[in-house]
Symmetry: C2
DNA sequence: CGATCTTACGGGATTCGTAAACATA
DNA sequence: TATGTTTACGAATCCCGTAAGATCG
């Protein structure tokens, strides 16, 4: 009728052993059952595969021609199945994540460490970039998912909120504004400001907040790396606006933090997923760990 | 438990249609049966292959990775099975035969024509050569079988007698020896002889016959092609010794044939098979036709 | 509410193992 | 005669189809 993988396996083993009895033994089968398998295969192919008498079993010409092809096929097949199982069992595979620099530097590292401890064979790759870049990487499926800010929703992407975040004013401890518990945007606008570059999500937030109050924003310095901003603050060159998630990294004695009294500086850090795309087991596992840890903190 | 080809087929079709119902339809299966197949495959792989709800069926990330690999495997598999069936059904394949020139020129051509009429898609290849060359070709499996003379048995080769053959004296019709019904070796030895080259089976027979009677053999001419020998006879240059099977080909008014009164000039034309090697279906079919026709003549 | 996937269950086909028969060196 | 394949047959398993249930748009 129809050729079956079990028959192929039986054929290959029998050919290797040149014996029904020993082959059946290896296949955990009774010898008559193996005879039936081989006969079925022969019938469905219409060819005799073995010349067999009670004393010897050897391949037919056709059998000899067929054997290597079927061996290769079965090997490939088993390899595919095995790799699928490996991936499912999280014993192989990879996760690639695109994240905002602040997240990549603070939230992710301990999570990666934990994930790798649980799944040592899975590679974890991190790419950092601004929000737009993250969206692009997710869109083109260059990463499994992204971690960005839910600022401008983009068609074809889904976001799942992870945690809240806000921009804090970073200033020298001896700054006169440190006297206040909270700062206002108007106070900030009068100071020399140290902001990140115009591409960044952080800068977008800042721009939006000042624009809402019709305040002019004239950064004294534009930097790419947050560590640079902290250095400038430390040197007394101005006040920086940096995300709370990231700042712990830069915590140093010579730094003071003050919240600013506007909700416009708040944002949500969110998972960015391509709509309708399901994750690989490895990525799914990472995502689950991620949300679990984040929920535990909240 | 174990992945089955039917499951793979079901997976591929379902993925192509993105619908259980339509896929089941194509597979000549009820839709619930297909659900079971897919579920079994998913369970044995440990991975969900489709994200499905009542309104849409789409591949999981893993499913999407698996699909092309499995499609290729299944295609290869079906191709191998199909080619085996084709060969078994004698709709493809080839037969290659090494034969003595006499046989290749007389016995084989009508058989080949008949065989090709029955099995138009099977290629038939003929190689001609002397007995030793035929044996070598069979030994190294360059041909399916040989048709030679059973003169010197060779280890590793089996011979099956096909038909008898003897060397006949070929002489001009006006030759004085034509008066006799049969010739003797002694009469021949006194004439200028036209023989084939020393490598040939025919020559081996002639040498052996003369040696048995302690007669000196001194060929006037040594030729490679039997047609040449006939030409020399026609020109009155001597008497040739040629196999009866081959001579009908050269039958011409200017030729007379006489048997020679020694059994030493008789030989058997025989199939030459490599011991323990089974034939391809095409070769087997040709062999069967060959023996059937030869037996019919006898 | 309608189309579609899933679950439940009974009947039929497939496949297994045991035991006996058969074949060859 | 001994080893190893084939045949026969009852039992367990697997697979299918029908029918009912669940779910999403």
């Amino acid at each position: 009728m129809n050729v079956n993988l079990r028959q192929v396996r039986a054929f290959i083993v029998t050919a290797r052993f040149a014996s029904f009895t020993r082959a059946a033994n290896l296949l955990n089968l009774s010898q008559p059952a193996l005879t039936v398998q081989i006969r079925q295969l022969e019938q469905s192919l219409g060819v005799r595969l073995f010349d067999r008498n009670t004393r010897s079993v050897e391949l037919t010409r056709v059998g000899r021609d067929l054997l290597p092809a079927l061996e290769r096929l079965l090997g490939d097949f088993d390899a595919v199945v095995e790799s699928a199982r490996e991936m499912a069992a999280l014993r192989s595979g990879s996760v690639s994540i695109a994240a905002l620099p602040s997240v990549a530097a603070t939230v992710l590292p301990p999570l990666i460490a934990e994930f790798r401890a649980a799944h040592p064979r899975i590679r974890v790759q991190i790419r950092d970039g601004v929000g737009r870049r993250i969206n692009a990487l997710v869109q083109e499926e260059a990463v499994d998912f992204g971690i960005g800010a839910d600022i401008e929703p983009e068609a074809g992407l889904e976001t799942v909120r992870l945690l809240g975040d806000e921009l804090l004013a970073v200033l020298p401890p001896d700054h006169r504004l440190c006297a206040a518990e909270r700062l206002t945007l108007e106070e900030l606008a009068a100071e020399p400001l140290i902001l990140t570059n115009p591409e960044s999500t952080v800068r977008y937030l800042a721009n939006r907040a000042f624009a809402e109050r019709n305040l002019l924003i004239a950064p004294a310095y534009e930097v790419t790396y947050m560590s640079t901003a902290v250095g400038l603050v430390r040197a007394g060159l101005g006040i920086a606006l940096l995300p709370s998630t990231a700042i712990e990294l830069s915590l140093a004695p010579a730094i003071a933090l003050r919240p600013v009294d506007t909700p416009a500086l708040r944002r949500s850090i969110a998972l960015v997923l391509k709509a309708g795309r399901s994750l690989s087991p490895a990525a799914q596992a990472f995502r689950e760990m991620l949300t679990a840890r984040v929920d535990a903190q909240a």
